[in-house]
């Protein structure tokens, strides 16, 4: 099962990297002296802004302590996308593995993951 999941993750990462690469090829080259305009309407309107920007950042600036870039700034291009994907997948694998260990394997085998639990009685055939 873990093998299947690992294979799926690899396929996902592989496909995703190729999609990003393909999307990059379609992008037109930048024209000198012309600044790129924001094309995503949602960003123009400020929709789906995180409350750390809209509330925490706002009050921090109001009190004279505006936020600054983190020491390890991964918020550069698609780097943040990569780290979120990576840690999201790692988190998902850890959750899935331990969930299986606690709730699937333990239940099916009748073994206890924690001490003090009585194993269920099995009927002899």
């Amino acid at each position: 099962m873990i093998k299947c999941f690992t294979a799926f993750v690899f396929i996902l990462c592989f496909a995703q990297s190729h999609i990003l690469y393909a999307a990059g090829l379609d992008m037109p080259a930048a024209i000198e002296n012309i600044e790129a305009e924001e094309t995503v309407s949602s960003e123009e309107e400020g929709k789906w802004t995180g409350i750390d920007v809209s509330i925490v950042g706002k009050y921090a600036e109001k009190y004279g302590h505006p936020p600054r870039d983190p020491y390890i700034n991964t918020d550069q291009g698609d780097l943040l996308l990569f780290v979120f994907t990576f840690f999201g997948l790692v988190g998902g694998i850890v959750i899935g593995y331990n969930f299986r260990k606690l709730f699937i394997e333990g239940k099916d085998n009748g073994s206890s993951p924690l001490p003090g639990q009585k194993a269920p009685r099995t009927r002899r055939r």
Partner: protein
């Protein structure tokens, strides 16, 4: 069964695909040095006690580690998972804390350690929170979130409520107190040393209240209810599938 597992894995993987998280974490650079030191000094005892409790429980309860792994990863994912919420401020994103659930299952001190690890990784690699603001973030999400959730759960149990509602109250209270902690951290920024203590505290309290009301009136109000439902369902699920886990961790008494 394998197909179901594969399906669950795919859904989890797709759900955890790229999202840029913006939430309650106090960002790098907001706190002046005196408050950075203050918050670190405040949370260090909780983290040390939590580490000892974790080591002790690991020896006493052999199956404790898988549960810590499961809950720890869940807290990490929850606390950087931006959920779109439509509040009074329009469309925004906010995230749950997850420490209410971990405090109920693992105990409040162990929950502080888990929150600390999750926040440290987020600050280091995800540009989410900050290293200098780690202390205040551990205080709000770890200490306040965990202890409030734990005591709310115990209080609800004493009132004789069903397990789902005990979990629901723990989730809601934990989320509320987490954001209260963030409000305290931000509100203390207006604490000026030049003023007398009482006046400075009054100014800080006013700022804290203002920020907390804004938090709740915007996106976080509906989200804390959602977190309560998730915690309630999670505890009900564990009780249904493996009640022995709850018995052995003394979450509920064996009947």
């Amino acid at each position: 069964m394998k197909k179901i597992l594969l399906g669950i894995s795919i859904v989890i993987a797709l759900l955890l695909l790229p999202h840029v998280a913006y939430a309650m974490h106090i960002t790098e650079g907001i706190l002046p040095p005196k408050w950075v030191i203050f918050w670190f000094v405040l949370v260090i005892p909780f983290v040390v006690i939590g580490t000892f409790r974790l080591k002790k429980k690991k020896k006493v309860v052999p199956g404790f580690l898988p549960l810590v792994g499961l809950v720890g990863a869940a807290v990490f994912v929850f606390s950087c998972f931006p959920i779109p919420v439509i509040g009074l401020n329009g469309m925004a994103t906010a995230h749950p804390a997850g420490t209410g659930m971990s405090a109920v299952l693992l105990g409040p001190f162990v929950s502080v350690v888990i929150a600390g690890i999750a926040l440290f990784i987020q600050a280091l690699f995800l540009a989410h929170g900050g290293l200098t603001t780690l202390g205040v973030n551990i205080f709000s999400m770890g200490v306040l979130g965990s202890f409030s959730g734990y005591f709310a759960f115990r209080l609800a149990q004493r009132m004789g409520l069903k397990l789902f509602w005990c979990g629901f109250i723990a989730g809601v209270v934990s989320d509320l107190c987490t954001y209260m902690g963030t409000s305290i951290g931000l509100g203390l920024l207006v604490f000026e040393g030049d003023e007398s203590f009482s006046v400075a505290m009054m100014h800080s309290a006013k700022a804290m209240l203002e920020i907390f009301v804004v938090f709740m009136a915007t996106s976080q109000g509906p989200l804390c209810i959602a977190e309560g439902i998730v915690v309630g369902f999670a505890l009900s699920y564990v009780y249904k599938v493996r009640p022995s886990i709850l018995y052995n961790l003394r979450v509920i008494k064996e009947q």
